[in-house]
C-alpha cells in the first residue's frame, strides 16, 4: 500500500460515487456536482499513476494535464449553471421531463 | 518528528469529520455554512502542518490560497442567504 495507490483507489471510488449521483439524481444542480466529482476522481486516478515512483518527484505531465482539465471542467460548469438558471426562468423546473423527443415541437 | 506531525494531521482530520456532521445535521443554513467554514480553517491548518512535514515551503502557498478562497466563499454564502441575494445581513437586521 502506498500513498499513490490510496489516492488512486479514492479516485476510483469517487468516479463510482459521482456516476451514481449523475444517474439517480434528477435535480440538475446535483448532476452538475456529480459531474465535477467524477472529473476530480479521474484526475486523482491519473495523479496517482504519476506518483507511483514515490511522492518525491511525481510525473509533471499528468499534473499539467490535470490543471488543464480542472480549468476545462470549470468552463463547462459555468455554462451548465447558466443554462440551468435560464431553464428555470423558462420552465420553472430544475429538472428535465421524461424522454420523448417528438414532443419537443 | 515527522510521525508526530502526521499524527497531528490525523487529529485535525478528526475536527474536520466532526464539522462534516454539523454540515449534515444543520439544522439551518447558517449552521451548515459555519461547519463548512470550520473545515476550511481545519484544511488551512492541515496544509501548514503538511508543508512542515514535507519541508516544502511552496506548500505554504496552498494554505494561503485556501485561506483566501475560503473567506471568499464565506462572503458568497452570506450574500446568497441575504434577503435579496445581493445584500448584507447587517442591513437586513
Amino acid at each position: 500500500m502506498s500513498t499513490a495507490l490510496v489516492y488512486a483507489l479514492c479516485g476510483a471510488s469517487l468516479v463510482g460515487v459521482g456516476l451514481y449521483g449523475f444517474i439517480t439524481r434528477a435535480h440538475l444542480l446535483r448532476r452538475i456536482l456529480a459531474f465535477n466529482i467524477i472529473g476530480s476522481g479521474i484526475f486523482l486516478l491519473l495523479g496517482g499513476a504519476g506518483s507511483r515512483q514515490g511522492a518525491v518527484s511525481p510525473d509533471p505531465v499528468p499534473q499539467a494535464v490535470i490543471i488543464t482539465g480542472i480549468v476545462v471542467a470549470l468552463s463547462l460548469t459555468a455554462l451548465a449553471v447558466a443554462l440551468l438558471v435560464r431553464l428555470v426562468e423558462d420552465t420553472g423546473r430544475a429538472t428535465l421531463p421524461g424522454e420523448d423527443a417528438s414532443r419537443d415541437a | 518528528m515527522d510521525e508526530f506531525l502526521y499524527l497531528a494531521c490525523i487529529g485535525l482530520l478528526g475536527t474536520v469529520a466532526a464539522s462534516l456532521v454539523r454540515v449534515h445535521l444543520g439544522p439551518n443554513r447558517a449552521d451548515r455554512m459555519m461547519g463548512a467554514q470550520l473545515i476550511g480553517t481545519g484544511g488551512v491548518a492541515i496544509a501548514l502542518v503538511l508543508a512542515g512535514a514535507a519541508r516544502d515551503a511552496s506548500m505554504i502557498d496552498v494554505a494561503l490560497v485556501l485561506a483566501l478562497l475560503a473567506s471568499f466563499a464565506a462572503v458568497a454564502f452570506v450574500k446568497a442567504t441575504s434577503a435579496d441575494g445581493a445584500g448584507d445581513p447587517e442591513e437586513d437586521g
Binding site: 489516492y7 439524481r25 434528477a26 435535480h27 486523482l44 449553471v81 435560464r86 | -
Partner: protein
C-alpha cells in the same frame, strides 16, 4: 501502518464521504456546502501526492471558484423556488444504479492495481529537457512549453465558454451588466472585508504568477485568485461588474489567447508551431503568462458573474 499512510487513508475516506453527502443528501444547500468541503479535502490530497501545482489549482478553482459559482446558482434557484429535490427513482432503480456505478469503480480499481508498479511515465523526459524550456518548474515547463498546444486550446476554451454563457442573454438585456447590483452596509463587516482582502489577494495573485516559473504556481492559479479579488470587490459593493457590451472588457478577454496564438503562428511560419527558441524561452513564457493571467482573471470573473441581468 505508519502515521502518514494512516492520514492518507483517513483523508481519502473523508473525501468519499463528503462526495457521497454532496450527491445523495436531501438538502440542496447542504450539497453545495459538502461540495466545497470536498474540494478542500481534494486539495490536501494533491499535496500528499507531491503535486503542489495541482493542489493550488484545486484550492483556487475546484473548491474556490466552482464553489462560489454553485452557491450563486443555488441562490438564484432558491429565489425562483426551484431548489426542491424531486422524488428520486424507485429503490430498485437506485440499487441498479448503485450496482452499475460500483462495478465501474471496481473495474477501474482492478485495472489500476494490475498495472506495472514502476509506472512508465514522462518524468525522465521532462527532467532531461526542462533546462531548455526556459523555466525551472517542470509543471510550468509542460504547460507552457512541452504541451503548450493544450494550454493554448484551454485558454480558448475559457473564452468560448464566456461567449457561450453570454449567448444565453435575453435580447433586451444584450450588452448589459451581469449579476445583481450588490450592496453592503457602510462600515459593516462585509464592506470592511471588501476593503481589506483585495490588496492581500492582489499580492498573492501577483506572487503566484511570479513564482510559477521556478516554484509551484502559475497563470491559472494566479488568475483565479485575481478573479476572486474582483468578485469580492463586486460583492462588497465597492465596484460594479462591467457591461458585457464594453469593447475594453472584450479586448481584455481575448488579448491573452490572441497573443499566445499569434506567437504560436509566428513560430509556425518560421519553422516550428509554438516553438520557443531556448535562449529566449524564459522571457517569452513570462511575458505570455502575465498577459494570460490578466485575460484569464477577467474571463473567470465574468464566467462566475454569468448572464447579464440588467441594462446600464
Amino acid at each position: 501502518m505508519n502515521p502518514a499512510l494512516l492520514f492518507d487513508v483517513a483523508l481519502a475516506a473523508l473525501a468519499v464521504v463528503a462526495a457521497l453527502s454532496a450527491v445523495a443528501g436531501r438538502d440542496l444547500f447542504a450539497s453545495v456546502a459538502f461540495y466545497i468541503v470536498y474540494g478542500i479535502l481534494i486539495a490536501l490530497a494533491w499535496m500528499r501526492l507531491g503535486a503542489v501545482d495541482v493542489a493550488l489549482a484545486e484550492a483556487a478553482i475546484g473548491a474556490g471558484l466552482t464553489g462560489v459559482l454553485l452557491i450563486g446558482a443555488w441562490s438564484q434557484l432558491h429565489r425562483k423556488g426551484a431548489t426542491e429535490t424531486p422524488p428520486g427513482p424507485s429503490s430498485a432503480a437506485r440499487l441498479l444504479a448503485a450496482g452499475a456505478s460500483a462495478s465501474v469503480a471496481v473495474l477501474v480499481a482492478v485495472i489500476f492495481v494490475g498495472l506495472p508498479a514502476d509506472g512508465a511515465g514522462l518524468a525522465p523526459a521532462v527532467r532531461e529537457n526542462v533546462a531548455e524550456s526556459g523555466v525551472s518548474n517542470p509543471v510550468t515547463a509542460v504547460l507552457l512549453n512541452f504541451r503548450a498546444y493544450d494550454t493554448l486550446m484551454e485558454t480558448i476554451v475559457l473564452a468560448v465558454a464566456l461567449a457561450a454563457v453570454w449567448s444565453l442573454t435575453r435580447d433586451e438585456l444584450w450588452g448589459g451588466i451581469p449579476g445583481l447590483r450588490q450592496h453592503a452596509r457602510d462600515g459593516g463587516v462585509l464592506a470592511t472585508f471588501g476593503r481589506l482582502l483585495p490588496p492581500l489577494g492582489l499580492l498573492v495573485g501577483v506572487y503566484l504568477v511570479w513564482a510559477g516559473s521556478s516554484m509551484p504556481g502559475g497563470a491559472f492559479q494566479a488568475a483565479t485568485v485575481l478573479a476572486a479579488v474582483w468578485l469580492l470587490l463586486v460583492m462588497s459593493g465597492a465596484m460594479d461588474e462591467p457591461a458585457i457590451g464594453s469593447t475594453a472588457i472584450r479586448l481584455t478577454i481575448v488579448a491573452g489567447p490572441a497573443l499566445f496564438l499569434a506567437y504560436g503562428t509566428g513560430g509556425a511560419f518560421l519553422g516550428t508551431f509554438l516553438g520557443f527558441p531556448a535562449d529566449v524561452a524564459g522571457m517569452l513564457i513570462v511575458a505570455i503568462e502575465y498577459v494570460l493571467t490578466v485575460s484569464i482573471a477577467a474571463t473567470l470573473a465574468l464566467l462566475v458573474a454569468g448572464v447579464p441581468r440588467r441594462q446600464e
